[in-house]
């Protein structure tokens, strides 16, 4: 599966609060209701925590959730 790049995800200027490492862009698997998306997202290279911006969470991710959710 090809990696999806979204403009809302940008690692520039962000550091991991726990590790104090600068975040780097890495492919991350997002799974919801049996659907899998491979998206490049800012990630801490040490603890592997992923940062999802508010814009992405409330925007496209919310739209995808609505499309996948059952009535």
């Amino acid at each position: 599966m090809s990696v999806i790049r979204v403009p809302e995800a940008d690692a520039a200027g962000w550091r991991c609060a726990a590790c104090d490492e600068p975040l780097v862009m890495r492919p991350v698997e997002l799974e919801y209701l049996d659907a899998l998306f491979n998206v490049e997202l800012p990630t801490c290279p040490q603890c592997n925590r992923v940062f999802i911006s508010e814009e992405l969470a409330l925007g496209k991710m919310h739209q995808v959730e609505q499309l996948l959710e059952d009535k």
Binding site: V6, L33, L68, K71
Partner: protein, 458 residues
């Protein structure tokens, strides 16, 4: 889920106790019968579910939601107090309003017993009054204009405008499609009036099916209707009445036709045949097809593209009334399941009851979004990243596959009736669950239809 149903006597329609009896069928599955006995008219046994999946596991429990403004008191007991009464357990998702009882077909089986001979049509002022009663009782729910055949009325575009102007956000037309498929420009006229969606009688892709079910070949008209509606931007839901031995072999072909005509075709809504209104004779169990059988036939006839395990019990109407699943129509014409059984954070074990009102709100929003043309309701495809393209594709090219089992005097289960969200608007302004409104005894005597001409008292 276990529960004690009540039903009616098929002869006198008196409410009587009933029970479910589940037996192992010849094929090894579990077959559930509704068993009841009237003191005056004897015992009755009718198949209501031929699993798998089995009836007991087909459950989506709901916390009942009362009508916000009950019209009738609880007096004689279900199903004799409809209005809606204060004991009803679900809100109106769709209000079905008959604008005529005339019809240009005379199908051997018709829940409304429609035909060439009929009572005079209600006047536009009567329709306006009924729409006001719906909004008072149930808010701005989805409206389905039905009949009879609504396109028999030349003022139908005006009635669509009337409903729009009253504030109803989603207007659907229940039609055989004959006029839409015959008269150039008619679909565009309906679209201009504000029609969102057509519930199109569509029993198969073979004229022998139409000759049997509708009395004449109609396939050419149906295909022309789909084309005209697509060109006019009106969402199409194909509605096959499924009759054993007549078109139960055609379900896969209908799904393939729907996929090939996505996004104009928004969904397929199968209706296993029920015997109310006009029907030739008292049906035996061999004349019935139940929801699990439709699920299994869909899997077999699509060669596993649709699977029994894809299908979900409804969140709006009673669990035993329907199933549904949503699919993405991919660019190569394939189908990929979208809806899924469990969210990532769902708790293990049986599902917890959810408020019925929550299911009604979701179903209303889903129907409005999914059964209308994507051009009106959904974001357009455009440039962007892969997620944008997925969103645009899915929003436009989702195919909703569903089935709803209506109940007749043999199969009526009053628990299911109390959970009904499809409400007929009677001529005196009451809202009556669809299967109660259309209920007829085995000799054709109605309980409500044709008997609701009293004053419009709240």
């Amino acid at each position: 889920m276990t529960r004690e149903p009540r039903s009616v006597c098929p002869v006198c329609l008196a409410p009587i106790p009933a029970r479910h009896e589940t037996v192992t069928s010849e094929t090894g599955g579990h077959e559930t019968l509704l068993v009841k006995e009237c003191q005056d008219h004897g015992p009755f046994r009718t198949v209501v579910w031929r699993g798998p999946p089995d009836l007991a596991g087909w459950s989506r429990p709901k916390i009942p939601s009362q009508p916000r403004k009950p019209t009738t008191p609880v007096n004689r007991g279900c199903p004799l107090d409809c209005g809606l009464c204060a004991a009803h357990r679900q809100h109106t998702c769709t209000a079905v309003l008959d604008v005529t009882l005339r019809c240009d077909l005379g199908c051997p089986v018709c829940f409304a017993s429609s035909g060439a001979q009929a009572l005079p049509d209600p006047k536009p002022t009567d329709i306006g009054f009924l729409l006001d009663r719906v909004s008072e009782a149930s808010g701005f729910c989805n409206i389905q204009l039905s009949g009879g055949e609504p396109t028999m009325r030349d003022d139908l575009p005006g009635l669509i405008r009337l409903a729009r102007n009253k504030g109803f956000p989603f207007i659907q037309l229940n039609t055989n499609g004959v006029r839409i498929g015959s008269e150039p420009g008619y679909a565009a006229t309906l679209a201009e009036a504000g029609l969102d969606s057509v519930f199109l009688q569509f029993d198969g892709l073979d004229d022998t099916v139409y000759a049997s079910l509708r009395g004449r070949p109609l396939l050419e008209r149906k295909l022309a209707a789909v084309k005209a509606l697509a060109q006019s931007g009106i969402g199409v839901v194909l509605v096959p009445t499924v009759v054993p031995g007549v078109n139960d072999h055609a379900l896969g072909a209908i799904i393939r036709f729907a996929s090939a005509n996505s996004p104009a075709v928004r969904g397929v809504h199968f209706q296993p045949v029920s015997y109310f209104g006009r029907f030739p004779h008292t049906p035996g169990d061999e004349a019935r097809i139940t929801l699990p059988e439709v699920m299994r036939l869909l899997e077999a006839q699509t060669h596993g593209v649709l699977r029994v395990q894809d299908f979900l019990a409804p969140g709006c109407e009673h669990s035993h009334c329907s199933f549904h699943a949503n699919y993405l129509v991919t660019t190569d014409g394939g189908l990929t399941r979208l809806s899924a059984k469990e969210a990532c954070c769902a708790s293990p074990g049986p599902p917890l009851p959810r408020p019925a009102s929550e299911g009604a709100d979701k179903a209303k929003a889903f129907v409005k979004r999914q059964w209308a043309s994507p051009d009106r309701e959904l974001p357009m495809a455009g440039p962007g990243d892969d997620l944008d393209r997925f969103i645009a594709r899915t929003a436009a090219h989702t195919l909703a596959v569903s089935a709803m089992a209506f109940q007749d005097c043999w199969t009526l289960d009053l628990e299911r009736l109390k959970g009904c969200c499809i409400h007929a608007v009677s001529p005196d302004g009451r809202l009556i669950p669809f299967c109660a409104y259309n209920l007829t005894s085995q000799d054709g005597t109605t309980l409500y239809r044709g008997k609701c001409h009293g004053p419009a008292t709240p």
